[in-house]
Amino acid sequence: MDMILLGFQTLADPMVALMLLVGVMAGMVVGSIPGINDNIAFAVFIPFSFSMPAETALALMVGVYCAAATGGAIPAIVLKVPGTASSLLTAEDGHAMARKGLAGRALSIAITSSVVGGILSSIVLLLFAPSLARVALEFGYVENFALAILGLSSVVGLLRGNIVKGVIAALIGLLVATIGFSPMTGAARFTFGNINLIEGIPFVPLLVGLFGIAAMLDLKADVMKTRDPDAGPESLPKIGSLRLPKGLMRRLTPVWGTSAAIGNVIGMLPGAGMLMAIFLAYDQAARRFRRKFEGQPGEETWGDGAPEGVAAPEAANNAVTASSMVPLLSLGIPGNSTSALFIGALALHGMVPGPLLFTQHGNVAWMIIVSFLFANLLLWPVAWVVLRTVSRSIFAIRKEAMVGVIAMLCLMGAYSDGANLFNMWVAIAAGVVAYVMRLASIPLGPAILGLVLGPQLESSLNNSLRISNGDWLIFFDAVNHPISAGMMVASALLWIVPAAMGLRDRARAAKAAAATKDNG
């Protein structure tokens, strides 16, 4: 309780509170610009936090992170152009409602759902992160190695049908993480005599390149594919009243609960990502809608203006934001790609996420947790202001102009980390590599996790083997290291279960094909 109060106390600093509000507002505005996803919004704001004290900077980042996902719903509903990938599904029913003159109601459902999902996931963060961190404080080298293996396995195991590419991505990340000083002997590895590489590849420019520059290249490809020089800004539907009837709120309450629960569970799994959560929540809501409402008088069909189609993805995507911070703050493992950028933001201020964050920088760790709660509470009034004031100007910004803006912001952001031109080269190289990986369908998530967990994996492996005199069974020793043994078994299951399910699916498909052939 004292620690929660400490978090509140830190947030009560007028400058910190103001930056949280600025972050929510900026995230909402940036998230509503089509083409700018949550990652770019976050990558672009990291450099702006350089000169601020840690508390102020992290409050700003929490605000941006929470609001960008909500802001994406605004153009999704008004223009049918999702501002962020997380509002991909909101565009379907949301825009259908807008076309029927219910834009205000659709926006209101989206924002309320985001607030409900976000608050529920903030409570999960408040309850789980510190408890997990307390357990993680008991970890030694053996448990740390098992934890890194569990983190990597959870990401790779979740990529059903794409496991080989996932492993390759993770190995690339782990290999890149070996550049620089060896944690065992201090020898410089793979530096090619370049002094800039002695401490490893600079992390912030690397992340800015992997997310920002790669997304810029994606956006540019999209613009070049669909460019129409004569097209001007679209005429927008009238937004109208934002009031949400009580009956509709009662009807949507179970959807909010289910979707937030899905978002919370998925958010806590490293690498599962926001998209998985919104698709699962959308599917659950569709089943409920078809069972209870479809075909009744006055009801829409699914995908053509069903309020549940807006509520489910929006509650789920905001539930992912805070819950994805549970593994990050407690164990140092990012829950999704955007929360991986948080590591960069923390690193800039000399902090390392994980259990020690709660003991070494308790005020900041608790402030981050409390900020998630307040950022979600601020979403409604800020969304109202944004909708009534700057929305129309935001939609007038041409997507084409954003390509150069993102490039400049990302590269200047990378450069600002130490005023070093080498960082720009890192960012552009990382961006091109990430873009090529995306084209080859090699997932980026495992590579990021490999980069983050690489140093921990290597040093804990070496130290564990030293303790055990080279006995690898130390990691499975259920008597002396039960946590490690448990995590190793869980890791093995994460590999075996999806592989077994894949084999079962293949066998079923072959059986079905044979049956069709026999009948034919």
Binding site: V164, L171, L217
Partner: protein
């Protein structure tokens, strides 16, 4: 250096490299066996090539002491032109605005120290 360090520091990256080679070979074999449909990469290659070229030229200009304003104006103008912003006057206005906002945000706002220029009056 890429090699020549002690055995203890070498074994871990070496093991990772061997694993990467094994999984890479599995991927290549899979592609050869399944013979997937060929996909055109001309647009993505053009996008990545052009953008990388523009950005590299910008970084080289910055490090050569040409300042921030001129190289950024030219880079933004080129990006806008490639992305199809017409007429050129609109593209020029956008480029000036973006450059001004970038300079104000990073140099005046955040106090970022830009690389040294050839002459003090070059911004």
């Amino acid at each position: 250096m890429a090699s020549g360090f002690d055995a203890m520091s070498r074994s871990y990256p070496l093991a990772l490299s061997v694993l990467l080679m094994v999984f890479g070979a599995v991927l290549v074999l899979r592609v050869v066996i399944s013979q997937p449909k060929s996909v055109s990469f001309s647009l993505p290659a053009r996008v990545a090539g052009l953008s990388a070229l523009l950005i590299v030229a910008w970084i080289v200009a910055l490090s050569a002491g040409l300042g921030f304003v001129l190289p950024t104006l030219l880079m933004q103008g080129a990006f806008l032109y490639i992305c199809g912003v017409r007429p050129p006057l609109v593209a020029a206005i956008y480029a000036v605005l973006i450059t001004a906002v970038g300079y104000a945000a990073f140099v005046l706002g955040l106090g970022v120290r830009l690389p040294e220029t050839l002459a003090p009056w070059i911004l």
